[in-house]
């Protein structure tokens, strides 16, 4: 399954070797679901210590790429290295360095918030005292102390996102990969989480977030990659990618698909007529 030789005939230019110094180095990732090619040869280097934003329209292959980069989905072709460790070759070692918040998966929601954090910590092999201490800190940081004993199934969407984020961080990973971490999170919590993530990056950690809120990525991230149609269209520091434009305008230029809104002329008159 995990053929390491790259795509057969459709291969474009020869793929450069993975950057073993990077926090995350993807080379020639391909994934096909039935007839649809979701990811078609993604090469990406996430420098260690960067705050990396992954942006793209809906269905661009962001989630598929991140799933393959974190061991949740086996690529058809291609390699993933986490700080130089081959993820699909030595998954247990590579996964230990990763903290993952996948999008669109459930949590073990019959556990309370505190129990879920404990579960994640113990699965990561932490000892009881460390787990207890870090759970407290994380609950406080996520503003979930009052809901520690509430079952996750009764959490709101934003609270669920926050407890998922906390369980991804409990083992102090070197790389955090967060798929849509701010969706449904209230502005105050989002600001708190951003502070936590910035602090984490300042201390040498690496954060990869996917988002389709350009403004947020422009303000928050040091690096950005634009992905669409299963390809990386541009990657680099935010300044390099956006140039003179705002990230949003640059994104629209790259991805295309803007329409003149004349088509819905009737909508404008909707207040006048019935």
């Amino acid at each position: 399954m995990s053929d390491q030789t790259g795509p057969p005939s459709a291969a474009p230019a020869p793929v450069p070797p993975p950057d073993l110094g990077a926090a995350l180095s993807l080379r020639g990732l391909w994934k096909r679901f039935g007839q649809k090619i979701a990811v078609a040869g993604v090469d990406l280097d996430v420098p260690a210590g960067s705050f990396f934003g992954l942006v793209g329209p809906n269905g661009a292959g962001k989630t598929t790429s991140l799933s393959m980069a974190t061991g949740l989905l086996r690529p058809d072709f291609g390699t993933v290295h986490v700080h130089g460790t081959d993820l699909w070759g030595r998954p247990e070692e590579a996964k230990a360095a990763l903290g993952v918040l996948p999008d669109g998966v459930r949590l073990f929601d019959r556990l309370t918030g505190a129990q879920l954090l404990t579960y994640a910590g113990l699965l990561r092999g932490l000892d009881r005292d460390t787990v207890a201490e870090r759970s407290e800190d994380l609950l406080r940081a996520m503003d979930l102390v009052a809901d520690r004993d509430t079952f996750v199934v009764d959490y709101s969407a934003g609270m669920t996102k926050k407890i998922g984020l906390a369980s991804a961080m409990i083992h102090a990973p070197r790389v955090l990969v967060l798929d849509e971490p701010f969706e449904a999170v209230d502005p105050v919590s989002a600001a708190n989480i951003r502070d936590i993530l910035h602090g984490y990056v300042d201390d040498g950690g690496t954060v990869v977030v996917s988002s389709h809120v350009m403004d947020l990525v422009q303000r928050m991230c040091s690096h950005v990659a634009v992905i669409a149609g299963g390809h990386v269209l541009a990657a680099g520091t935010v300044a390099e990618v956006r140039g003179e434009q705002s990230l949003e305008d640059r994104f629209v230029d790259l991805v295309g698909g803007r329409r003149e809104s004349e088509g819905l002329a009737w909508l404008r008159s909707s207040s006048a007529s019935s």
Partner: protein
């Protein structure tokens, strides 16, 4: 608008046929089976009506009343089973309530159960083919009965919706519902037994006489009244006919009114969960060892008690002796059947984890992301069942032997029981790493069978059961021989063989399961992701 709602329901129904080939085949086979049963019921009614219309009328009244009752009660327990036309989905459309109500009522007739009920209700009316006036009354009764079924069930679910919205209440209800479900089979057997004894004794007249008071009483209830219209005509009791007709119409009107009120309230009440539930402290996570395996075990133990899908299967275990007792008394086998409860409970417990990854659903992503090794995952799931199940099945074996008065069978029983526990746990651990099939998602009714699951479920369960049975054959043969010959030496042999088989299969099954799990970890996750 009414026509559009009916068309929507028809489209939804047609789409379920188109979803996949296997599903289509399953539905066709199911429909053929349903039609066959329907044909049998109708012809039985016609034959019976030809021979003895009075008794047939009474039987039809009682059976029909049960059908209406089922329509009213089952959806309340099996909540969300048919949510295709959940009124809340129409909240944002500005549809007048009366129109919506009429549309939902008519659309409610467009479903397989409704079609079967309609055909059946009209079909059995032909039991009265010899008396045209009674036939007309029976057909009218059939129409009224179907309307009562559909409107009554909608009224019940819509009126109880606020209650069913509370997660905790729903879950308790779902687990409680196991009790009547489990007892339906034995109860039918018991009743049939009683009836057949009566019939053997004195023929159909005696049967008619035996159920006469029951049928008379049921005929006065809204459940039985529509089915008893024809009997009243046949007896020439026109006053009775009018009274029963009045009961039907009044009930229908009442159900309609209740539904209308409930719908009016539902359309303006946003769906909100009930009060949030809480638990103190870390529970099992604080008690079990702070290792990855201990954590998985703590999580599994929590779920066995907290998740209605697991709790429902636990609730079944204490009912086993009761069921076996009823069956044993009914067919005259007596207490010997009670010996079966220990191995049955052992098998049920072991089978409980045979689709554990399917039960996790996408929450399983945590195990994948953390890179939890197969050994840890498999043992973590087995250990709580082993720790809780072992004392339980041993106690069952002791009680079974005591109740049956067969202390001599104890070694054989223990061998069979412990062997079954180990074997079924081992096989489940292996199978669940290989075959994952859709089950009700977390938070759904344990009775909801997910779309498109039938074939995969059948294959996986058959595989698990078949292998377990095949591996258990030596122990089973020895134990049965020891119990029924009876032979003490064979009993001790069964104990030895059972223990060795159990331990061996458990170790090998977990090991094989762990290896498969390690190899297929991302594929397992993708499989459950595909269930949606």
């Amino acid at each position: 608008m009414v026509a559009q709602l009916v068309r929507l329901k028809l489209t939804l129904l047609a789409n379920t046929f188109r979803r996949s080939v296997w599903q289509t085949i399953g539905l066709v086979v199911g429909s053929l089976y349903g039609l066959g049963v329907l044909g049998l019921v109708v012809s039985a009614a016609v034959v019976g009506g030809t021979a003895d219309p009075v008794v047939t009328g009474r039987v039809l009244t009682i059976v029909g009343a049960l059908v209406v009752l089922a329509w009213w009660v089952v959806p309340v327990f099996a909540f969300g089973v048919d949510a295709t036309l959940d009124p809340r989905r129409f909240v944002t459309f500005a549809i007048p309530r009366r129109t919506l109500l009429a549309g939902l009522a008519l659309a409610g007739l467009v479903s397989i159960p409704a079609a079967v009920t309609t055909l059946g209700a009209l079909g059995v009316a032909f039991a009265w083919w010899r008396q045209p006036v009674a036939l007309v009354a029976a057909l009218l009764g059939g129409v009224l009965a179907t309307a009562l079924c559909v409107v009554g069930s909608r009224a019940a679910t819509t009126a109880l919706a606020p209650l069913l919205d509370s997660r905790r209440y729903r879950e308790v209800l779902a687990v409680v519902a196991v009790v009547p479900l489990l007892l339906v089979g034995p109860a039918i057997g018991w009743v049939a037994d009683g009836v057949s004894v009566t019939v053997d004794g004195a023929g159909a007249d005696a049967l008619g006489a035996a159920i006469e008071p029951l049928a008379r009483a049921v005929g006065w209830t809204p459940l039985g009244a529509p089915w008893a219209l024809a009997s009243a005509v046949a007896e020439g009791a026109w006053g009775l006919l009018l009274a029963r007709l009045a009961i039907c119409v009044a009930t229908l009107a009442l159900a309609w009114w209740v539904w209308d009120r409930a719908l009016a309230r539902e359309l303006v009440t946003p769906r909100g969960g009930g009060a949030a539930a809480a638990a103190k402290g870390l529970g099992w996570f604080g008690r079990l060892p702070a290792t990855p395996t201990g954590a998985v075990a703590a999580r599994a133990a929590t779920y066995w008690l907290r998740d209605p899908r697991y709790a429902a299967s636990i609730a079944m275990v204490p009912l086993l002796p009761l069921v076996l007792l009823v069956v044993g008394t009914a067919n005259g086998a007596g207490g010997v059947l009670l010996l079966g409860m220990a191995p049955l409970a052992a098998w049920l417990l072991g089978f409980g984890i045979s689709n554990d990854v399917g039960y996790d659903n996408t929450a399983f992503a945590l195990h994948v992301a953390t890179g939890t090794p197969g050994r840890v995952d498999r043992w973590g799931r087995v250990l709580p069942v082993l720790a809780g199940g072992l004392p339980l099945v041993v106690a069952f074996a002791l009680v079974g032997c005591g109740a049956a008065g067969r202390w001599d069978a104890l070694p054989a029983m223990l061998g069979l029981t412990l062997g079954t526990l180990g074997t079924s746990l081992g096989i489940s651990s292996a199978v669940s790493a290989r075959l994952v099939y859709p089950v009700p998602k977390p938070g759904e009714s344990p009775f909801k069978s997910p779309q498109g699951a039938a074939m995969a479920t059948l294959v996986a369960q058959m595989a698990a059961m078949g292998i377990t049975l095949a591996v258990s054959v030596p122990t089973l043969a020895l134990a049965l021989a020891a119990i029924f010959l009876p032979n003490a030496a064979l009993g001790w042999a069964a104990l030895g063989v059972g223990l060795v088989t159990g331990v061996l299969v458990l170790l090998l099954g977990v090991r094989w399961g762990a290896r498969t799990y390690d190899r297929r970890l991302p594929e397992l996750l993708q499989q459950v992701m595909a269930f949606g």
